[in-house]
């Protein structure tokens, strides 16, 4: 008989091991899934996980997709540590795209070095404003930030669609719902020949480093952790919860806004109704898979990015539906949450107690 037993100390080994265990379980289940879909599991897995990164172009795409995931994951992870559940990063990303893209369209014909910095400021501010709404309602009225940030995502997507179907539609665009292409000054040039990779990845890595310094080395970073683990102890220590709510939501919103800008000023180059394949939601997975640690988020960002381009490649090469990506991502998070159990508990084999008679 197996018995569940609480560990006296959470296991640090397991803390590092379970993300890998979860990935392994996902790959195995993926093979089963492919077999069920009537495909050769080995060929499909190869197309999904190996082909995409077998070329320089592929590696560039990987880093390109990892950029928004890392930016968003870092912001969300900071919030989750403090028990602040911002799940509206998708909306904040869209707002960043709208504000940053708006600046690009406004100064469409201006070719000046200040255009892009202004776009960055606008995008970050846009994401922050969108995140400030749940922060305000949470700190003032205890309104659930999960529902508010999520509802605002739908609103943001509709707002973008209002704009690209309406006032911001490209006058020379044959009535397609999309804006003009941005001007030269508003676009991010590739940093690696033969790829579409732009400087966003460097920004993401720098943000990760800064986030780590903040969270692991400063008192206000420590305060976040205490607020999340034990609200009463945080009050006792003089760490204010409202500050944690505001700082993490603004950080998450700002980084998501930046991620949105990097998408529209980078690979997309204009505003379209769909600027993100759900990066804001996938960022949640990235945050958890990265153990809510900035460096972990970087690794997780690359891994999850692989599931995006893997899905695209597998669609082209193996004819698999692209929805497989979503299933993979969901499974990954499930397995991670399930195996996390091993951090706090262990299974022990115990001899079955001789069942006594009577009673």
């Amino acid at each position: 008989m197996l018995r569940i037993e609480a560990r006296p100390e959470p296991s640090r080994t397991m803390q590092l091991a379970t993300p890998f265990l979860a990935v392994a379980l996902t790959v195995v289940s993926g093979a089963v899934l492919f077999a069920l879909l009537g495909r050769d599991p080995v060929v499909s897995l190869h197309a999904f996980f190996v082909t995409p990164i077998s070329s320089l172009y592929g590696l560039g795409e990987l880093a390109l997709k990892a950029t928004p995931l890392i930016l968003i994951g870092i912001g969300l992870a900071a919030g989750f540590r403090a028990n602040v559940w911002n799940i509206g990063a998708e909306g904040q990303l869209v707002l960043g795209a709208i504000c940053g893209g708006g600046v690009a369209l406004w100064f469409w014909e201006v070719d000046a070095p200040w255009v892009f910095p202004l776009m960055v400021v606008a995008a970050v501010a846009g994401g922050m404003v969108w995140a400030a709404i749940p922060a305000f309602l949470k700190t003032r009225l205890e309104v659930n930030e999960i529902l508010v940030s999520l509802m605002l995502t739908y609103v943001a997507v509709l707002l973008l669609s209002t704009l690209v179907y309406g006032p911001w539609k490209d006058p020379e665009g044959f009535n397609f719902p999309q804006s003009r292409m941005f001007g030269e000054a508003a676009l991010m040039a590739p940093i690696l020949d033969g790829t579409r990779l732009h400087a966003g990845i460097l920004v993401a890595l720098a943000v990760a480093l800064a986030a780590w310094l903040w969270q692991a080395r400063t008192l206000s970073g420590f305060a976040l952790k205490v607020v999340g683990l034990a609200p009463a102890a945080a009050r006792f220590a003089g760490f204010r919860r409202h500050r944690a709510v505001w700082s993490t939501l603004l950080l998450g919103g700002g980084l998501a806004g930046l991620a949105g800008l990097f998408e529209v000023a980078g690979p997309i180059g204009q505003l379209v109704p769909e600027v993100s394949p759900g990066y804001g939601f996938t960022g949640i997975i990235v945050a958890f898979l990265g153990r809510l640690h900035p460096f972990g988020v970087v690794l997780a960002g690359f891994l999850v990015a692989l599931s995006y381009i893997g899905g695209e490649v597998a669609q082209i090469e193996a004819g698999l539906p692209q929805a497989v990506t979503g299933v993979f991502q969901g499974m990954l998070l499930f397995f991670l949450l399930a195996t996390d159990f091993l951090i706090r508990y262990r299974l022990r084999r115990v001899p079955r107690r001789r069942a006594a008679e009577g009673g």
């Binding site: 018995r3 569940i4 037993e5 609480a6 989750f80 559940w85 799940i87 709404i133 309602l137 009225l141 205890e142 309104v143 659930n144 999960i146 529902l147 508010v148 999520l150 509802m151 605002l152 739908y154 609103v155 509709l158 707002l159 669609s161 209002t162 179907y165 309406g166 939601f281 996938t282 949640i284 997975i285 958890f288 539906p321 929805a323 497989v324 990506t325 979503g326 299933v327 993979f328 991502q329 969901g330 499974m331 998070l333 499930f334 949450l337 399930a338 996390d340 159990f341 706090r344 508990y345």
Partner: protein, 307 residues
Amino acid sequence: MEPIVATTVSVIAAATPLLLAANGELVAEKAGVLNLGVEGMMLVGAVSGFAVALTTGSASLGILAAALAGGVLALLFGLLTLGLMANQVATGLALTIFGVGVSSLVGAGYVGTPVARLPRLDLPGLSDLPVVGPLLFGHDALVYLSVAMVALTAWFLHRTRGGMILRACGENDEAAHALGYPVIAVRFGAVVFGGVTSGLAGAFLSLSYTPMWAEGMTAGRGWIALALVVFASWRPWRLLIGAYLFGGVTILQLHAQGLGLFAVPSQVLSMLPYLATILVLTLIATGSGRGRLDAPACLGKPFHPPA
């Protein structure tokens, strides 16, 4: 008269999936479990119901399949949160992400295919009555079920011993355990019930409301259902008010779009239900702070019985 009756009938239809899903979530939350995966369970319910109804030609089998699919996902959620003590918020989000993925994978082949709408349960004579007929006697089975479910839930929670035990588990899990009640089993039951009704809510969408499958067709209704539970302060009858109110907002904005009322783009009108949700949550929170008190005391808290 005619247009008012027609509008009311469509409000009822718009409210039905919200009512079904919110009612199930209410029961789960009363037992102390917060399942944020309603949206995912609805989507999987919608696609399974649609696929089975289409392939077998039987709407009843479709509904059954939807209920089953929702229940299975809820079971998965229960295994993780109740069995393995995973964080309920994170697991609920995972369930939604997973549900979105699975439903679009399964539904990829069905996009654009129509299916027969659920039959209306016409009562000879009664359904032909003017006004009252279409209002009360012209709906399909799931509409009646949604209302019956609310009544049943209210009766169960407050008039039966089982309901009392369920509330006790949500109120103080350790005390319920000390008195010998199987907290984990009760919560499992409540969560699975929530999954089944979310599945049914999905089936209503894909078999009755718009008889077809489209990716992400729930459009946030699962989340609105979660907000409705807060709005109703965890009281079943108040769900009815909330769901019909939201149904009303939805239909209002659809009509406004159709008639080209207010010189605003249709997308702006489509924002209304989401903005209304935020507004309602805010108003509830301002209302003297009572709201939080009604929440079950152990909501979202993991429980591990000592060996």
